[in-house]
Every structure is written in structure tokens, then in C-alpha cells.
């Protein structure tokens, strides 16, 4: 574990190397990236296994001295960190591999790999940070990696807008995090997680302050994890290449918000209000995003809203004091959502469109992709036996036990909707007639299918590390007797599991009836163009709302200030210069060229002086 600091450095090396010499390496750049992330993965696995036996490991050194305060940097390997390291490096490695096939032929191939390296570096750095300042630093770097990759197709106006939006919206959240972090610092005199927890536990921080800082930090998580009301950037971020969506906007970065809340869980759990806020925002986002996902027609956007919804789920879990449930779902979600995105990428790669209304009947043509996509869909829908089922069950139990029946019902409805829209997606893409006009549809090369296969396996078996049946290994390990983190496993009533199963199966059935068997017209809910459909299709007009409020207000202030700048500030200056100029004009008018006038003036001056002299006798007293 002493060498855990190497893990983030490999991708950084890949980034630097590719920036400098990537142009000459062309597509061989992929090997650099793959090799480096493989190294990270190997180290991560080693660290993970080491962590099973050994206690946490923490190294720090002085980074910056401010007076008598020493800010440190370093790295820490604890349970959560080790797990995150594994997840991130694994998904990153798989995506690196996958991209070799997906990005084949792009003229900025090496840049893509360089950016991937930068992002992976930042993400790995984020998860091993021992203090909140370092977390913040990598937090922002992750944002930049995401920004660069969203805007990878820089010549597309949509990509440009999406990248900008992603950066600015997450920045709004980041400022919340920054303020919360600084306030926490002045309360506890430290950025170290351990010091902060100690101070919070000792009660040296007032309750309102904890609530305030926790909520401010949560704003950061909202921004990064695409929670309502800062969620709109995430669906737009789908303008980036699909592997990027899989890596950043499904498995890792967006989960950073969840990770942050998890990492600071002792602070959150010290304030009921903060926890409730997290839970409510999470629950609302889960159902809100799911409802939008029902009507979207872009395959990636459906997945994106599903991501938002699932992240809301995790937040709900954390907010209901289900630490283990949240982290568990984070892990399983990383697997199956990455799988779904990679599979979707494979589909897009094959048919060159993202509109699901132009797909259909691809089951036979995509021999590998289709079953893998089905696995992912089943997992996310919570069908028993797959990973999503266990984690979702855990969350529902946590919500029930957390004492929020309303949130519990919200979660159930969200689960139903998830199952419904995911299978709607599945049926529309893979079954029925092909509605598009693709001539040749090829299965993707093995370099793309293999990573999907790995993820597919994990999506199936990933849940078995923490089940009510075979013991809650993950939970025990994560909590490790730390009471601040809550229980290792929440034993909910048995009916919850059945309810969850029934709900998801109902969702699947409904989707099958509408889109698979077509025994119910697709416009049963409300016809296309109906009010409900329109609202959902336009995502509740949130973007438009922001456009007419925040953006317009900002512009308004700007123009108002420009008015001040141009007319008042500049006007004052003009007034002053005008005054001087006026005086000058008067002065120059006096220069009439009349010699006698000059002489008269000079003489009058002399006369006045002489008179004064005569009257005063030479002294002015």
C-alpha cells in the first residue's frame, strides 16, 4: 500500500507522454494508455487485497505553509478508497481498451487517449485524497477532464455548448463545496478528514455550522452528480464520445458526488437536517429523471437520465443513513451502467445513429452486444439474481428503516419507471422491425466486445459480495465497526424484497406489452404531442427556465454594468477631461495675438504687485 500513490501517476504519465509524442505514435497511442491503466488496475487490485488484511494507510507531507498552518498533501488507503480505486481503474482500463475500437480512425486519436489519461489520473487522485482540500483539487481536475472529453468533437456546436454547460454548472456546485470546505476549515482548523471527524465527534463545531457546511458540500455533490436542480448538464454531456459517457458520466466522475458524501459521511450524519436534505434531493431526482427518461428517443440520453435517476437513488440511500447501501449501489451501478453505455456505443458504432426510433430488430445482427445489453438492462431493473437487485434492495430497506415512508414510495415508483424505460429502450432497439435505413450492420470488433463481456460478468456477479443470503461481506468490511457509518447491513422486512421484485417485473411487463408485443398502443399514456408527453420530452423545460432566469439575469446585470462603465465611469472621466479642455480653450482664446493686450496684462500684474508692495511695505503678514 506504500506504493498506492503510483496508481494515479500511471495515467498522468500516459497523459504527458501522449501530449508530447502522441502525434507521431498515431493509433499506437492506445497501447500507451491501455498499458498505463492496466498498471493502475494491477496496483489497485493489489492494494485492495492488501487492504483486506491490513489497516488503513495514510501518508502526508507539507504542501503549503500559511503562517503557522500547514496544509498537507498525501494519500490514504482505507476501505472506501481501496474499493473506489478498484472500480475506477477497472472501468478506466476497460474503456481504454474499448476506445481503441470505437475511436478507430479519428484524427485526434492520441488526444483522446491523452484526455482519458488526464481524467483517470484525476479520478484516481480524487479517491485516494486524505483531505478535503486535495479532494477539491482533484474534484476540479476531474471536471476539466470531463469538460475536455465532452468537447472532444470541438467542431460541433452542440459539443461546445455541452462542454461549457457541464463545466459551468459543476462549477456552481464546486463553489458550494469550496465555501463549505473553507468554513469547515475555520471551524476545525484542518482539512484532514480524520481531524474533521474528530472535531465533529467531539462536538466542537456548532450544530448549525455542521448543517450549513454539510449542505454546502452537498451542493458540490449535486453539481458533480447531476442532481436536481443542477442536473441538466449531464444529459447534454452525451455529446462526447460514447466511451467517455461510459467512463465519466456513468461509472466514475458522476459518482464522485456520492463518493464525497460517503467520504464525509460522519459530518453528514451529525446533522439530521443535512441528511434529510440529501435524501429528499436524491429521492426527488430519482423519480424526476426517471420520468423524463421514459420519453426520450436518443439512446444515450435515456441512459443519461437513467444515470441521473440512479445517482439520486444513491443519494437517497446515503441520506437515509444507508452508507453501505449507497456505496454498494455505486459499485454495482458502475458496472452495469458502464456496460450499458459501452453496449450502446457498440450499437451506435454499428448503426451510426442515436435515435432509437430509427433502430429496431438488431438482436440478430449484434450477436454479442444485444445479450450484454440485456444483462445490463436486467441488472439495472433490479431483476433478482443480478447485481442491481441486491443493491436496490439494500437502498429500499434503508429508505424504509430511515423512517421516510414517502421517500420509500418514491424509490419504489422510481424503480418501476426504471424497469419500464430501460426495457422500452431494449425493445425498441433490439426487437421488432428495423425502422432505420442502415445497409450494413456489423458487430463491433472484439476489442470492444471483450470489455463489455467483463463488465457483463461483473454486472451479474457483482452483487453477491453483499447479499441478504450469502452474508454482507462488503458491508462488514466497509463499516468495520465504525459506528459513525451506521450498520453494515440493514435488515429490512422481507416484503420489501418482494415488493421490489414485483415492481420491476411490472415495469418490464408493461414495457413488453407496449413496445415488445405492441398490444398496447405506445401513446396509451398520452398521445405524442399531448401535454404530459411534451413536458416530459422537453425535460420539464428546466433548461428553458434557466435560460430565461439565470442566464438572462446575468446578461442583464452585465449590460447594466456596461451602461455604468460606458456612461457613468467613462462619463465622469469625460467630464473631467472636458473641464480641463474647456479651461484650455478659454486660455487659448486669451492668446489673441494682440501684443498690446499681452503688455497690458503683464503691466497690470506688475501694477497690482507694486500697489500691494506700496501698501504693505513689502511684507505680507
Amino acid at each position: 500500500m506504500e506504493n498506492a500513490w503510483l496508481i494515479p501517476l500511471f495515467p498522468l504519465l500516459s497523459f504527458l507522454l501522449l501530449l508530447l509524442i502522441g502525434k507521431r505514435m498515431k493509433e499506437a497511442s492506445a497501447y500507451v494508455g491501455i498499458l498505463m491503466t492496466l498498471a493502475s488496475l494491477v496496483f489497485s487490485i493489489l492494494v485492495l487485497f492488501e487492504r483486506f488484511q491490513e489497516p488503513s494507510y495514510l501518508v502526508k507531507f507539507n504542501w503549503l505553509t500559511i503562517g503557522d498552518m500547514h496544509l498537507t498533501a498525501g494519500f490514504e488507503v482505507n476501505q472506501l478508497n481501496a474499493l473506489m480505486l478498484f472500480i475506477v481503474s477497472l472501468v478506466s482500463f476497460l474503456v481504454h481498451t474499448y476506445s481503441k475500437g470505437y475511436m478507430h480512425g479519428d484524427e485526434r486519436f492520441h488526444i483522446f487517449y491523452a484526455y482519458l489519461g488526464l481524467f483517470t489520473f484525476a479520478m484516481l487522485g480524487l479517491v485516494i485524497s486524505p483531505n478535503i482540500l486535495q479532494t477539491y483539487i482533484f474534484w476540479e481536475l476531474v471536471g476539466v477532464g470531463s469538460f475536455l472529453l465532452i468537447g472532444f468533437y470541438y467542431y460541433k456546436e452542440e459539443a461546445k455548448a455541452a462542454a461549457k454547460k457541464a463545466f459551468i454548472m459543476t462549477r456552481i456546485g464546486d463553489v458550494g463545496l469550496l465555501i463549505g470546505m473553507i468554513l469547515l476549515f475555520w471551524q476545525t482548523k484542518s482539512f484532514e478528514y480524520s481531524e474533521i471527524f474528530k472535531a465533529v465527534e467531539a462536538g466542537s463545531v456548532s450544530n448549525t455550522m455542521i448543517t450549513l457546511t454539510a449542505i454546502l458540500i452537498f451542493i458540490g455533490a449535486i453539481g458533480k452528480s447531476g442532481q436536481f436542480p443542477l442536473h441538466t448538464w449531464l444529459p447534454d454531456a452525451m455529446e462526447g464520445p460514447t466511451p467517455v459517457s461510459a467512463l465519466i458520466h456513468a461509472a466514475t466522475m458522476v459518482a464522485a458526488g456520492v463518493y464525497l458524501v460517503a467520504a464525509l459521511f460522519p459530518v453528514f450524519s451529525a446533522s439530521k437536517t443535512a441528511l434529510l436534505t440529501v435524501a429528499v434531493i436524491g429521492g426527488f431526482t430519482a423519480i424526476f429523471a426517471a420520468s423524463i427518461g421514459i420519453v426520450q428517443t436518443d439512446i444515450k440520453r435515456v441512459l443519461a437520465y437513467s444515470t441521473v435517476s440512479q445517482l439520486g437513488y444513491m443519494m437517497l440511500a446515503l441520506g437515509s443513513a444507508g452508507y453501505v447501501a449507497g456505496v454498494f449501489h455505486l459499485m454495482t451501478h458502475a458496472f452495469f451502467k458502464a456496460l450499458l453505455f459501452l453496449a450502446a456505443g457498440s450499437v451506435i458504432h454499428a448503426v451510426h445513429t442515436q435515435n432509437i426510433e430509427e433502430m429496431g430488430g438488431l438482436w440478430k445482427k449484434l450477436k454479442w452486444t444485444a445479450p450484454l445489453f440485456l444483462i445490463g438492462t436486467l441488472a439495472i431493473s433490479g431483476v433478482p439474481g443480478l447485481s442491481g437487485f441486491f443493491s436496490k434492495d439494500e437502498i429500499l430497506a434503508a429508505a424504509w428503516e430511515g423512517g421516510h415512508p414517502v421517500l420509500f414510495i418514491l424509490a419504489l415508483i422510481a424503480a418501476f419507471m426504471t424497469a419500464f424505460y430501460m426495457f422500452r429502450l431494449f425493445f425498441m432497439v433490439f426487437t421488432g422491425e428495423n425502422r432505420g435505413n442502415q445497409k450494413e450492420v456489423h458487430e463491433s470488433p472484439s476489442v470492444m466486445t471483450l470489455p463489455m463481456l467483463v463488465l457483463g460478468i461483473l454486472a451479474i456477479v457483482g452483487g453477491y459480495v453483499n447479499t441478504p443470503w450469502f452474508g454482507s461481506f462488503l458491508g462488514d468490511w466497509l463499516v468495520d465497526g465504525n459506528t459513525a457509518l451506521g450498520h453494515a447491513h440493514i435488515e429490512g422486512p422481507a416484503w420489501i424484497m418482494f415488493a421490489a421484485t414485483i415492481v420491476s417485473l411490472a415495469g418490464i411487463l408493461l414495457a413488453y406489452l407496449i413496445y415488445g408485443k405492441r398490444s398496447i398502443a405506445p401513446d396509451w399514456l398520452s398521445g405524442k404531442g399531448g401535454i404530459l408527453h411534451t413536458i416530459l420530452y422537453n425535460k420539464f423545460y428546466i433548461d428553458e427556465f434557466y435560460q430565461i432566469t439565470i442566464v438572462a439575469i446575468t446578461k442583464g446585470i452585465s449590460y447594466f454594468l456596461r451602461f455604468i462603465d460606458v456612461f457613468i465611469v467613462e462619463g465622469l472621466v469625460k467630464a473631467v477631461t472636458g473641464m480641463v479642455q474647456g479651461l484650455g480653450n478659454i486660455g487659448s482664446k486669451l492668446q489673441s495675438g494682440q501684443v498690446q493686450t499681452y503688455g497690458a496684462v503683464a503691466f497690470l500684474g506688475l501694477a497690482v504687485l507694486v500697489v500691494i508692495y506700496a501698501l504693505t511695505g513689502g511684507y505680507l503678514r
Binding site: G67, Y154, Y155, A163, I182, L183, V569
Partner: protein
């Protein structure tokens, strides 16, 4: 070599270049350019040597020099002599600025070989004179000497802007001279009053004299002097509403001059505020701290909001400079280690970043003959390196961690949140706005559809890469390992905080 004479050599070494240039015929362009660049090197090497001396753990006061210079009596023969000494010295803070000046100047000289299209000889002679002035400003240990160097920076800048600038260069040059002339007039009044009342113009002695409550000046009078200083350096910084001159200069001056101007000359304002405002009048600074914090936030937001709607990228950068100087004020107003250190970091960091940004703008302008955002677009295709660095520089400017902008912004806010949380909270809007306006501008230029066809070979090449790489390297170095900058500052900070009664 005698250590004491090093600073004098450092400061006056560019004059040697002027002499050599004066002897060269105008027509030998290459030689003129080469000497113009070479003449900045002695200062660079010497300043780095001084820095190395400091790193070796030796005392910076080895370099202090004090030679009697002017001596005269007042009207009354019984009064003691007024003496003005030729005094140069460096503290850690000054050293950092001297190194910054030397680096940016060398790079700007390299840039000038590219951007300046006529009369290199005159340009480089003025440029080197300016360099001497700047180095002198940062090393002078005496108010009179400081003022002389301060004025030396004004005149060459005026001509550099007025002769080699763009279309409205004369107007820009005059408004530069007008504002800064007024500012330095106020400064001169303050210096003269201090000199007349105390009989000394040595900064260190003045500092001790002012700290003494039984000193020769009353508190109310000191407050007046401090406000005058704030105005004098506020013009330079610039503080809203004294900023309009600087917009014109940023837009009209040639890029290599703006590199110097935005990178170094604006910093003289911050330097003066810290050294004299805070150093000599700590109590007065404290009593106005809230006001300064509010001014800082106004600067920050005002610049940011206005940058958001500009159509000319140079204007965006000009307003962004105003905005960033707000952070300096915010940091200073915090009156604690974190804030002041943040402010100094911001001074250095902004110097590097804006030099880089203006260099890149210069390159882009040279290729495309416009700097309007809506006329550019899609530059990433024609000139990927320039676009990449522009984006990186913008990221540094908006305070991306891992680059110097973040460290300073972070510390400044860290400091202010301790004393004025509400003002600081309002100020954080500026962080968001910074991201918004920079991305809007930079993405507008580099991303999107290319507005025109670019032929090959437009990208950065050859000597142009040197400044870009060096500046980027320094920005990242400070961002990743801030101790490289903070360790020389510790002694200075302690002195200042001592004065603040911390």
C-alpha cells in the same frame, strides 16, 4: 563579486543593452532584435542567482546596499540634514517580483521580435529602459528612489503604447499617461509629506517610525495619507472606478507591451499597496479593511460581469484583469496570513497567466488579424497548439487546481472567509462568473465551426514556443508545488503581520 553591488548591476544591466543598441545602425534588424533579447538576460540570470542564494539558506540582507546620495538642509539652518540615500535591497517578496519581472520581460522581448513590425531599435531601447524602471521599483528601499524608478516606467510605456500600438494607440497612450500621471502625482505628494514630516525616506525606518504611537504624525493625518496612497496605487492596480485607462491600453498596445503591462506594471500597484499601504500604515489599513474587501468584491464581480458580454477577446482579458486584481484586494483585506499570501500569490500568478494569455492573443491576432470572438471560431483546427495553450491558460486563469490561479484564489478566499464570511460569499459568485466568461470567450474562439479556412503552418512554431512553454511550466509549478513561492514570502509576511499587531 561584491554581493552588495549585485542588485545595482541587476537593475542597471539593461542600460548596457541600450548603449549597444544606440551604436547599432537601424537597418541591422536581426542584430537589433538579438541584442534586445540578450540584454534582458543579465537581469534574469542575476535574479535567478539571487534566488539561488536565498534557496541556499543565506540571508537576503547580504545584498542590501546604502550609499549617501543627496543631502540638504531645510530653510532653517538649525534643522538636521535631509538625506536621501541610494538604497537597494530585496526581501523575499521583492525577490519574487524581481524574478517574475525578469522572466516576463525576457519572454516579452522574445515576443516583441515577432509582434513588433517596425523600428525595433527604438522599441528595444525603450523596452530596456522600462525594464530598468521595473526592476528598480521592486528593489528600491527608499521612497524617493522608488518614485524615480516608478516614473521611469511611465515614460517608456507611454511611447511604447503610443508608437507601436494599434489603431487608437495615441488615445490609449494619453489616457495611460493621464491616469498614471495623476496617480504618481498623488504618490509624490504623499512621499514628500512623509519626507518632510519625518526627515527620512527609508522605507524600513518609516515603517518603524509609524508603528511608534508617539511618532510625528497624528492618526487622522495618517489615515489621509493612506487613502491618498490607496488612490495612487488604485489607479495602477486598477481599482474600480479608476480602471478605464487600462482597458484601452490592453486593447491598443502591442501584445508584447501588454504582456509587460498586465504582467508586471499592474503589479506595481499591488506591490505598493502591500509594501507601503500595509507596511507603513498597518493600523489605517485595518480600519479600512472592510471597505477594501468590498472594493475587492466589486472589482471581482464588476470585471467578471463585464467580461461576460465583451465581443473582443482583448477586452475580455482586460476586464478579467480587473476582476483578478479584485482577488488581490480581497486577500489583502483579510489581514491574515492566508489572505496576504493569497494576494501575493495572485500577483505573481496573474502576472504569469496574463502574460501567457496576451502572448497567445498576439499570436492569434498576427495570424488572423482579428481578436473578435465572433470572427474567430474553430481555431483548434487550424492551430491546435495555440488553441490548446489558450484553453490551458484560460483554465489557469479561472482557477483550476494544479495551476497557480487556484492557489492564490483559494488562499485569498480562505483568508477572507475567516473575517468577512458574507462579503466572501458574495465574492464567490465571481468564481463562477470567471469560468463562465472565460469559457464563453475561449470556446467561442477555439471550438465550433471554423469561420474561415486556415492554411497550414499557422500554429505556434519555433521561438514562439519558448515563452509559452516557460510560462506554462511556471504556472503549473506554482500550482503543484506552491512552496517554491511561499517560502521566500514567509519573512515578509511575518514583518507585515507584526505591523498589523497580529
Amino acid at each position: 563579486m561584491n554581493l552588495q553591488s549585485i542588485l545595482s548591476i541587476l537593475v542597471f544591466s539593461p542600460l548596457l543593452g541600450i548603449i549597444v543598441l544606440a551604436l547599432l545602425p537601424k537597418t541591422q534588424e536581426k542584430a537589433v532584435k538579438a541584442i534586445g533579447i540578450l540584454a534582458t538576460l543579465p537581469a534574469l540570470i542575476l535574479s535567478l542567482a539571487v534566488y539561488a542564494h536565498f534557496l541556499a539558506g543565506k540571508n537576503l540582507s547580504d545584498f542590501s546596499i546604502s550609499v549617501p546620495w543627496i543631502k540638504f538642509r531645510g530653510i532653517n539652518a538649525q534643522e538636521p540634514f535631509f538625506t536621501v540615500s541610494y538604497e537597494l535591497a530585496v526581501s523575499g517578496f521583492q525577490l519574487v517580483l524581481v524574478v517574475l519581472t525578469a522572466i516576463v520581460s525576457t519572454l516579452a522581448a522574445i515576443g516583441a521580435a515577432k509582434f513588433i513590425k517596425k523600428e525595433w531599435k527604438g522599441y528595444y531601447m525603450l523596452f530596456l529602459l522600462l525594464l530598468t524602471g521595473m526592476l528598480g521599483v521592486f528593489t528600491a528601499e527608499n521612497l524617493i528612489l522608488f518614485f524615480i524608478f516608478f516614473e521611469i516606467t511611465l515614460i517608456p510605456t507611454f511611447f511604447l503604447i503610443g508608437k507601436w500600438g494599434y489603431f487608437e494607440k495615441e488615445k490609449a497612450a494619453y489616457s495611460f499617461l493621464l491616469y498614471n500621471g495623476l496617480g504618481s502625482a498623488v504618490l509624490l505628494i504623499v512621499i514628500m509629506i512623509l519626507f518632510a514630516k519625518t526627515g527620512t525616506s527609508n522605507i524600513e525606518i518609516l515603517r518603524q517610525m509609524m508603528a511608534d504611537p508617539s511618532g510625528p504624525l497624528k492618526d487622522g493625518f495618517k489615515l489621509g495619507l493612506f487613502i491618498a496612497l490607496l488612490i495612487a496605487f488604485g489607479v495602477k492596480l486598477p481599482i474600480f472606478p479608476l480602471h478605464t485607462w487600462m482597458l484601452r491600453v490592453h486593447v491598443q498596445a502591442p501584445p508584447s507591451v501588454v504582456m509587460i503591462h498586465s504582467g508586471i506594471l499592474l503589479k506595481i500597484g499591488a506591490y505598493g499597496l502591500i509594501r507601503f499601504g500595509m507596511g507603513i500604515f498597518p493600523k489605517q489599513f485595518e480600519s479600512l479593511a472592510t471597505l477594501i474587501a468590498i472594493l475587492g468584491v466589486i472589482n471581482l464581480l464588476y470585471g467578471a460581469f463585464l467580461a461576460f458580454i465583451q465581443t473582443d477577446f482583448k477586452m475580455v482579458l482586460a476586464y478579467s484583469s480587473i476582476s483578478h486584481m479584485g482577488i488581490v484586494l480581497i486577500g489583502l483585506a483579510a489581514m491574515n496570513e492566508a489572505g496576504i499570501q493569497g494576494a501575493i500569490f495572485q500577483v505573481v500568478s496573474h502576472g504569469l497567466i496574463s502574460a501567457l494569455l496576451f502572448f497567445l492573443v498576439g499570436v492569434i491576432y498576427e495570424r488572423t488579424e482579428t481578436s473578435f470572438i465572433d470572427k474567430l471560431g474553430g481555431l483548434a483546427k487550424g492551430m491546435p497548439l495555440a488553441a490548446g495553450f489558450l484553453l490551458a491558460a484560460a483554465m489557469a486563469s479561472l482557477g483550476l487546481p494544479g495551476m497557480s490561479g487556484f492557489v492564490s484564489e483559494f488562499m485569498a478566499f480562505l483568508g477572507l472567509f475567516k473575517v468577512e464570511p458574507w462579503i466572501a460569499a458574495v465574492g464567490t459568485i465571481g468564481i463562477i462568473m470567471t469560468a463562465a466568461y472565460l469559457l464563453r470567450a475561449v470556446l467561442g474562439m477555439t471550438y465550433g465551426k471554423a469561420r474561415r479556412e486556415f492554411d497550414g503552418g499557422l500554429d505556434l512554431k519555433g521561438a514562439e514556443l519558448v515563452p509559452v512553454f516557460v510560462l506554462m511550466l511556471l504556472i503549473v509549478l506554482i500550482g503543484v508545488y506552491p512552496s517554491v513561492l511561499s517560502s521566500p514570502l514567509q519573512a515578509t509576511l511575518e514583518t507585515i503581520l507584526l505591523g498589523l499587531g497580529g
